[in-house]
């Protein structure tokens, strides 16, 4: 059993790496054949051909694409993602700066969507076709069908401009800028570590609305899935038997249903988490959030390929990694999978 698990683990890991390599190739090729012009963006619209050509050479864009790719791979092997046109910094340091902002936002969003979505799904299943179930279904449907962009603007109009309950766009009020030294890059954590409680509350006020809005779509999905997993379990004989023995509805859920759907839940949470990291783009634009989504949108606008490729790989890697971990969790914890393997 143990040997098989290791082999299975290795197979899945290899699968992950191959997928990642394919992603890298595709992104690189698409990036290089797109009719964008990072050289023009750097030297300026009115630069003369000599200055233009010199910069092209400096960026290595005059080489054949396969050579560019090999050079890129070589750099990558040394942990070098190249230099970003947009900032002139190594892409890795740009990403290290932008990623925590997205990570903080997506993590809070996944926490919110889990803590609301899972109980809502459970309750909806338990009281199938009741008012609560109907409300949960409507909530899930709305979350799935309304664009995040619209939600964001409406949220800002109501809770920021109207009620003044939350902070505005950006991670923090401008006059707090620069007062917290980035350690982890996570503003909530850094401000607490440095004892800046006022800044912590301010940052919390800024993150709460984009996090809830980002969480909403994921929550809809989690609610729907939890509901259907639970319904499936509720029709099982062991549950009916437990209920017949007089176990309360919540006791049934807590002791019997939840442990049985835990693995499935982990899978959908992992998928949601990946989706949140990836889907933060629109939220970041609406909320002027300086994360990876906004970084990549701007990189796309000027054809900054090093930034785009690196960003895609990082997001793709995290997405695949989460899927991989979910797979492993599935294989490890689900008794049926274990039995099948044996």
């Amino acid at each position: 059993m143990k040997e098989l698990s290791v082999a299975e683990f290795g197979r899945r890991l290899a699968h992950l790496l191959v997928s990642l390599f394919i992603l890298l190739c595709v992104t690189f090729v698409i990036g290089r054949v797109l009719p964008t012009d990072p050289v023009g963006a750097i030297v300026g619209e009115l630069a003369d051909p000599a200055a233009y050509a010199a910069m092209r050479t400096r960026l290595g864009l005059d080489l054949p694409i396969y050579q560019q790719f090999l050079l890129y791979l070589n750099g990558l092997a040394h942990g070098d993602f190249g230099t970003a046109v947009l900032t002139g910094n190594p892409v890795s340091s740009d990403l290290a700066q932008a990623f925590p902002a997205t990570f903080e936002l997506a993590t809070l969003a996944v926490i919110i969507s889990t803590f609301v979505g899972v109980p809502l799904g459970l309750v909806a299943a338990l009281f199938r076709d009741s008012v609560i179930d109907k409300v949960a279904r409507v909530v899930a449907l709305v979350g799935h069908s309304i664009p995040v962009f619209w939600f964001g603007i409406v949220g800002l109009v109501i809770f920021y401009a109207g009620l003044n309950w939350v902070g505005g766009p950006g991670r923090i009020d401008v006059f707090y800028e620069g007062l917290v030294t980035p350690q982890t890059g996570l503003l909530l954590v850094d401000s607490l570590l440095q004892g800046e409680t006022e800044i912590f509350w301010n940052a919390l006020g800024h993150i709460i609305l984009p996090a809830i809005i980002l969480a909403y779509a994921a929550m809809a999905y989690i609610t729907r899935m939890t509901r259907s997993f639970t319904l499936e379990q509720l029709s099982q004989d062991y549950v009916i038997a437990a209920r017949a023995k007089g176990v309360s509805p919540f006791g049934t859920i807590w002791r019997h249903v939840l442990p049985n759907i835990a693995v499935q839940l982990i899978t959908i949470l992992a998928i949601s988490y990946g989706g949140l990291l990836e889907g933060a783009v629109v939220t970041e634009i609406v909320f002027s959030w300086p994360g990876i989504g906004q970084y990549m949108t701007n990189a796309l606008m000027i054809g900054d390929m090093n930034a785009i490729v690196a960003g895609t790989i990082i997001v793709g890697f995290i997405f695949m990694l989460l899927n991989f971990l979910a797979d492993v969790a599935y294989a490890t914890f689900d008794p049926r999978m274990r039995e099948a393997a044996q």
Binding site: T36, V43, L86, I153
Partner: protein
């Protein structure tokens, strides 16, 4: 169950309130100016590299130049307290001033800065190169006479007045040579460092630039005319117009630019806000590729000029962004000629097409950057030209795609925009009227007219003559002649709308005067108490 759901609900509400309770949001502090805008195009804050408008606005507060131009177009002293013009050049006497580093500003810094500009040789150098200064002759033409005197000799292609205007541009900013030299790597003139740092003598210093997030400027307390009133200026990247509007209304920003026409309109007559419509002297242009089989024919170009509903578009789309005008010189400039009668005239346009041999019309593509107001402008042109039988297929793209197509002459029609770099006819018009070599081999992609393959030897010669004419009256006559010739030749770079930059200010802000070439200085801006 009922009990459970009720307590769950109460719990959630209570939780939400607890989170919300300790938060309170104040307006921007009185000693900090916060500007909301789009920083997406800002790629560098090196004055000898960056030319994008927003970058210029920031850099003009970090650096001083020898001279400055006022918003109404006068040349005034800045680092040079006086200058003497003779037959061969100009001698500038520098005032006592220090860089933010504490180093004194000397003539050596001025010479270094101009050499750096021309030797880095990027778009920022175009303005001086156009009149004969380049990396090969700068060391000879720009010299330090003594510590406080700089001599700039004429290149042979420029008059004193035209040179002064060019020296007032942000591209000729004077940098701290001692400081910059400390940061040179790979013979890059310190460019890698200068993109994200400042080494100037201006009223502010660069505290931080996080691309697409914010720029923080700190007051230079030792500025030569006294410390600025604002302790900090923060320029925030707010890419979404509606969000920017909310932030301005909420008091989180003091000045908003890059708003859409619809969001701007909400501030019209609204108490607590004022709208400034800053003229740029530039234009929204319809570039026609004269290398195209149809567009090479002047009659077709004239048919297009008669086929666009400028007035209608001005009213419905351009709003505060533009004013209909088909001569590349703002109508309030001295020596500007009246507009030709190229108003929408469907019959005349059809007739011209028939005369050109295209009675049944034809199809063209129109490329444009997907950006307010250009994208709506493209749609309106499409609808307007459809009436005369020209079918337009719109292709949208981002900045780098469209500019690349423009540089490569790879388009039929394209909508670029221009800016004037001097508040006079030449500053506005030169980029429309000069194309020294139209051949494909010349590959002069930095030239606006070359990109449209529009061959205009006579107009090019006349432009060169005007820029060399020292006598103001004669120059004025040449300016008129240039504009007339431009119209007669049925331009392949057709100006459509004079371009304005509308901004909205909170009434708390005082002393902010938008500059036509984005050299808006902020040292005298103040803020009153919250209203």
């Amino acid at each position: 169950m009922k009990h459970f759901s009720k307590s769950l609900f109460v719990g959630v509400v209570f939780g939400a309130l607890t989170i919300a309770a300790p938060l309170s949001y104040a307006a921007t502090p009185k000693d900090q100016l916060v500007i909301g805008t789009s920083l997406a195009q800002v790629l560098s804050l090196d004055p000898h590299q960056a030319t994008e408008g927003k970058a210029v606005e920031i850099m003009s507060n970090l650096y001083d130049r020898l001279v400055n131009s006022t918003p109404d177009g006068k040349i005034v002293p800045q680092l040079a307290e006086s200058w003497k013009i003779d037959d061969k050049g100009i001698s500038f006497t520098l005032r006592q001033a220090n860089f933010a580093s504490g180093n004194p500003v000397t003539s050596k810094d001025v010479v270094y800065s101009l050499a750096r500009l021309l030797k880095l040789d990027q778009a920022a150098a175009a303005n001086l190169k156009r009149v004969g200064y380049d990396k090969t002759n700068v060391d000879k033409l720009v010299t330090a006479v003594d510590d406080k005197t700089v001599r700039i000799d004429f290149s042979g292609q420029v008059t004193a007045e035209m040179l002064l205007y060019r020296l007032a541009a942000s591209t000729t900013s004077v940098v701290d040579s001692v400081e910059v030299e400390k940061h040179v790597t790979d013979n890059d003139w310190g460019n890698a460092w200068m993109r994200t740092h400042s080494a100037g003598s201006g009223p502010f210093t660069l505290n931080r630039w996080s691309p697409n997030e914010l720029v923080i400027l700190d007051a230079n307390k030792d500025y030569v005319t006294g410390a600025p009133k604002m302790k900090r200026v923060i320029v925030r990247h707010v890419p979404e117009s509606q969000v920017e509007r909310l932030m301005l209304e909420h008091g989180d920003i003091d000045i908003a630019s890059a708003l859409t026409a619809a969001d701007l309109a909400t501030f019209k007559d609204k108490q607590g806000f004022t709208i400034q419509r800053i003229p740029t002297g530039g234009f929204y242009v319809l570039s026609m590729n004269a290398g195209n089989q149809y567009l090479s024919n002047p009659k077709v170009r004239e048919a297009i000029a008669y086929g666009i509903d400028y007035k209608g578009i001005e009213k419905t789309i351009m709003g505060p962004y533009g004013r209909a005008r088909n001569v590349p010189v703002p109508e309030n400039f001295e020596s500007a000629i009246p507009n030709p009668d190229w108003n929408l005239d469907v019959e005349k346009s059809k007739q011209l097409l028939a005369e050109a041999g295209f009675k049944d019309g034809f199809s063209l593509t129109l490329k444009t950057i997907a950006q307010t107001p250009r994208i709506d402008l493209a749609t309106a042109i499409q609808a307007s030209l459809a009436q005369v039988g020209i079918k337009i297929d719109i292709q949208q793209g981002n900045g780098s795609e469209i500019i690349a197509a423009h540089r490569a002459r790879d388009f039929d029609l394209l909508i670029p925009q221009t800016s004037a770099y001097m508040p006079n006819v030449l500053g506005s018009m030169e980029q429309f009227s000069s194309n020294p070599d139209n051949s494909k081999e010349a590959n002069n992609a930095g030239n606006f007219v070359w990109r449209s393959a529009w061959d205009i030897p006579e107009l090019t010669a006349l432009t060169a003559k005007a820029s060399m004419e020292p006598d103001a009256k004669k120059r004025g006559e040449l300016y008129v002649e240039m504009q007339k010739m431009f119209v007669e030749q049925k331009p392949a770079v057709l100006p459509m709308f004079e371009r304005f930059e509308p901004i909205v200010l909170s009434s708390k802000v005082e002393g902010y005067v938008g500059h036509p070439t984005q050299l808006t200085r902020l040292e005298n801006v103040t803020k009153t108490e919250a209203q």
